[in-house]
């Protein structure tokens, strides 16, 4: 088998992976980025509204207020040390992007433009803050292209359209690299590195109605589960309040930040009832639940009453053209509506996975082991949406995702440098390093009666029906029973395309295996957590229950076990924000 050897290996070419790769490439190490798509096709490119940092360019601001908002936004499930770290580092991470050339929109004096976003406050819960830095409504595109360009300058080596299969670990648990499949040639390869970073993004395609790119299939999560490592807080999925109804494409929170608002069929600004103070800029979980309730209680718009309306025509065509041009394009194309003239039909859409691969502040993957519940897995890192540090807790604030990518991408890159210095020579590669991956590939060379596309569709509908905005024990148990049937069908599935060159059917089959693993982790964790917190709403347990559930879930594949570990309530230097009732 083709063997490639590097100092460091990054799996995933989105914002997190590219930020980490840059740190390593600029330090003179040989770093490879493996991505199943050309890097600028990664889902970071779809981020719209911005990246949050308390620059104070528009209004008074302090990173400590950002810290408070993030703790509260996450319904106290976020680790306060990680949140302090992220908010402390935020301004420097944004300035650094500006220095790299990111084309931020600008204020009159020439500083970076900032807009208000949901869940932002001044003075620990006071008036609305203006904290999210933006490049029009294409911030993710601007950020991803800028990081890719800088990596070109730094001569990072890219393996484009190479699909990572499995982690390679030795008997002592060290991660030695990954196995992968070259999509163009269909050849498997083994990529060896002394430090490996997973930056494989989210898995939002596990839901039917999703804002996510089709590539968001949780590949890194599948790799970690197959390696016998746990996933954290997988019951927490953010449903973004405003996806284009029936399509799922995202309408940025920036629409409401710029002054747009939501209306029900009676033309009522219903958010005033749910969040009297913050109204349309309450936490995303709060707004998504409110929309779901309006629709469920018959106040939705349209012939089927299945959406609400986002009104922004009052902002005027000029503001929309300057600040929200991409939104206007998307609305015209996918909803047939020009938002400068009439409101956009919107409904909640699956958007972001708060849970993921448990890591520490340096991006090191941690798991329960001999010496404690959070021992680093040597040589293995994870950052971005696939990771759970946890800064987003039970509900992520808008603008904190791009921030997470660059802050922890940088931190992981720095720590990987230390690992490389301390481990100057590669460890011996076990003879059977690729055996499990080759067996997986061989399995998909076998004929079968079931089709991958049909099972994928059924899986996404199952998750939508049984594990959406509102959950109960009954819906989750029904979802698990359905998942069992789908797994039985998957075992009978085969491909009708046995070719090697650019066989995307095979890639979709491997992706489905990852999605299945994510779905099971989600359902099992959601069933275990008998409380409502942040984005996880159990109708049969409507209250937050700090006495029993102020803790992280840790799902392991072996026996579908859900374990727990404490939430770190102690920040690095600040006073802890004690749990209180979460009102907006």
């Amino acid at each position: 088998m083709n063997l490639r050897r590097f100092d460091a290996l990054i799996v995933g070419g989105g914002g997190a992976g590219l930020r980490a790769a840059l740190q390593l490439a600029r330090s003179g190490y040989k770093v490879a980025v493996v991505s199943k798509v050309f890097p600028t096709r990664s889902h970071t490119v779809s981020a719209q509204g911005g990246i949050t940092a308390a620059l104070g360019n528009v209004d008074d601001d302090r990173w400590e207020w950002h810290f408070y908002d993030t703790v509260k936004g996450g319904d106290w499930l976020g680790d306060q040390d990680a949140i302090e770290f992220m908010c402390r580092e935020a301004a420097s991470a944004v300035y650094e992007l500006e220095h790299m050339g990111l084309p931020f929109s600008r204020l009159a004096g020439g500083k970076i433009y900032q807009r208000p976003f949901g869940g932002q406050s001044k003075n620990f819960g006071g008036e609305q803050a203006t904290r999210t830095c933006a490049a029009a409504d294409r911030t993710g595109h601007a950020l991803l292209h800028t990081l890719y360009q800088q990596n070109l300058a730094a001569r990072t080596q890219f393996f484009d359209e190479v699909f990572a299969l499995d982690l390679v670990r030795d008997a002592e648990g060290y991660c030695l690299g990954v196995t992968a499949l070259d999509i163009e040639t269909g050849e498997p390869l083994l990529i060896e590195a002394r430090a490996t970073l997973l930056a494989t993004g989210g898995a939002g395609r596990v839901f039917w109605n999703s804002s996510n790119a089709m590539i968001n299939t949780g590949d890194g999560l599948g790799m970690v589960l197959r390696a016998g490592l746990p996933l954290q807080d997988m019951e927490f999925w953010q449903f973004h309040p405003t996806g284009i109804a029936g399509v799922g494409c995202l309408i940025t929170e920036g629409v409401r930040g710029e002054g747009g608002y939501l209306l029900n069929r009676h033309g009522e600004r219903f958010m005033e009832r749910y969040a009297p103070h913050a109204r349309d800029l309450a936490g995303r979980d709060v707004v998504a639940r409110a929309i779901a309730i309006e629709i469920a209680e018959g106040r939705g718009c349209g012939p089927h009453g299945d959406y609400v309306e986002a009104k922004l025509d009052h902002l005027g065509a000029a503001v929309i053209a300057e600040k929200l041009p991409g939104i206007r394009d998307l609305s015209i194309r996918f909803a047939g509506v020009d938002p400068a003239k009439s409101p956009i039909p919107v409904a909640p859409t699956a958007h972001y996975m708060m849970g993921g691969i448990p890591t520490n502040l340096h991006g090191q993957v941690v798991a329960p082991a001999r010496f404690g519940p959070e021992e680093p897995v040597p040589g293995l890192y994870a950052v971005g949406e696939c990771a759970c540090v946890s800064v987003h807790g039970a509900n992520r604030l808008g603008g904190n995702s791009l921030l997470d990518l660059v802050v922890f991408g940088r931190a992981a890159g720095k720590h990987m440098l230390e690992t490389l210095r301390e481990n100057p020579y590669p460890r011996p590669m076990p003879a059977d390093a690729a055996a499990a991956s080759l067996a997986r590939l061989a399995r998909w060379a076998q004929p079968g009666s079931e089709r991958v596309a049909a099972i994928t569709d059924a899986l996404r509908r199952t998750m939508q029906t049984h594990c959406g905005v509102f959950r109960t024990e009954a819906t989750l148990r029904a979802g698990l029973a359905e998942l069992d049937r789908l797994e039985a069908r998957l075992a009978q599935a085969g491909l009708t395309d046995s070719s090697r060159v650019f066989n995307t059917a095979r890639i979709e089959a491997l992706e489905l295996e990852n999605l299945m693993a994510v779905a099971r982790a989600t359902l099992v964790s959601a069933l275990a957590r008998t409380e409502s917190r942040g984005a996880h709403t159990r109708e049969d347990h409507p209250q937050r229950d700090d006495a029993r559930w102020l803790k992280h879930s840790l799902y392991s594949r072996a026996g579908d076990a859900v374990d727990a570990k404490p939430v770190r309530l102690k920040p690095l230097t600040l006073e802890s924000v004690k749990p209180e009732k979460r009102v907006y």
């Binding site: 990664s42 300058a153 790119a213 009708t496």
Partner: protein
């Protein structure tokens, strides 16, 4: 709906051919990508690239009824039947609708598409006025889909030597950036009978760009900067 799809399986030993496909799909509110995915669900051997399905990642550029477009934002209702779908022209076909993008990426890299500024970095952002920033509008939004470059006859004939509209638009994006210090070297890099001047102002690129950008205008600005520099 009726489709004619370009099919090519390199391992089969057979020549490329056009395949007629019938699909039962309601065109209202659906995009060409939805139809191709539905076709692929029935025939797994159809190969294509796709990712964001909302026109921002640039994966699914293809030639549709003679025009280069992104499948995910091309409404089925706008297309005359049979809908003829081919890979982007001017690039080697790997399989079906998948082309080898490397000649396109190589030209993109050749313009050194990154900001160059050797001045000591301030602790905060570099200032840029809204007017200076406005010069980047229409230049930074490129998604590298290659619709423009592969619609350009000059690129078809000179893929090795002509940068092409997408690469030249990127070059202009940095020349126009008030924070970039490398404009002179960027212009030197383009002052060449092939790299820049193979653009004959045919303007296919403008017609093809799914993001509504205007590479021809950017190329014109580069040319006039070169003229200004000489006098």
């Amino acid at each position: 709906m009726r489709f004619r799809l370009y099919r090519y399986a390199p391992e089969s030993g057979e020549k490329p051919f056009m395949q007629d496909v019938e699909l039962d799909i309601e065109p209202a509110g659906r995009m060409l990508l939805d139809a191709l995915i539905a076709i692929k669900a029935k025939d797994e051997t159809l190969s294509l690239r796709r990712s964001c399905r909302e026109g921002v990642c640039g994966s699914d550029a293809m030639n549709v009824n003679g025009r280069n477009r992104l499948a995910c934002i091309t409404p089925l209702s706008e297309l005359k039947q049979p809908i003829e779908v081919r890979p982007l022209p001017g690039l080697p076909v790997i399989r079906d609708l998948v082309v080898d993008m490397e000649p396109f990426y190589k030209q993109y890299r050749s313009v050194k598409p990154w900001l160059v500024n050797e001045a000591p970095e301030p602790e905060v952002e570099r200032l840029q006025s809204p007017e200076e920033r406005a010069l980047l509008d229409g230049a930074y939004e490129c998604i590298l889909c290659a619709c423009c470059t592969t619609s350009c006859p000059s690129f078809w004939w000179h893929a090795e030597t002509f940068v092409g509209p997408a690469g030249l638009l990127q070059a202009y994006r940095f020349i126009a950036d008030s924070r970039d210090e490398d404009a002179a070297a960027r212009l030197d890099n383009l002052e060449d009978p092939y790299r820049l001047y193979r653009c004959r102002g045919i303007m296919n690129c403008v017609d093809a760009c799914p993001k509504g950008l205007n590479p021809t205008e950017a190329i014109g600005r580069i040319k006039s900067l070169l003229v200004k520099r000489r006098v």
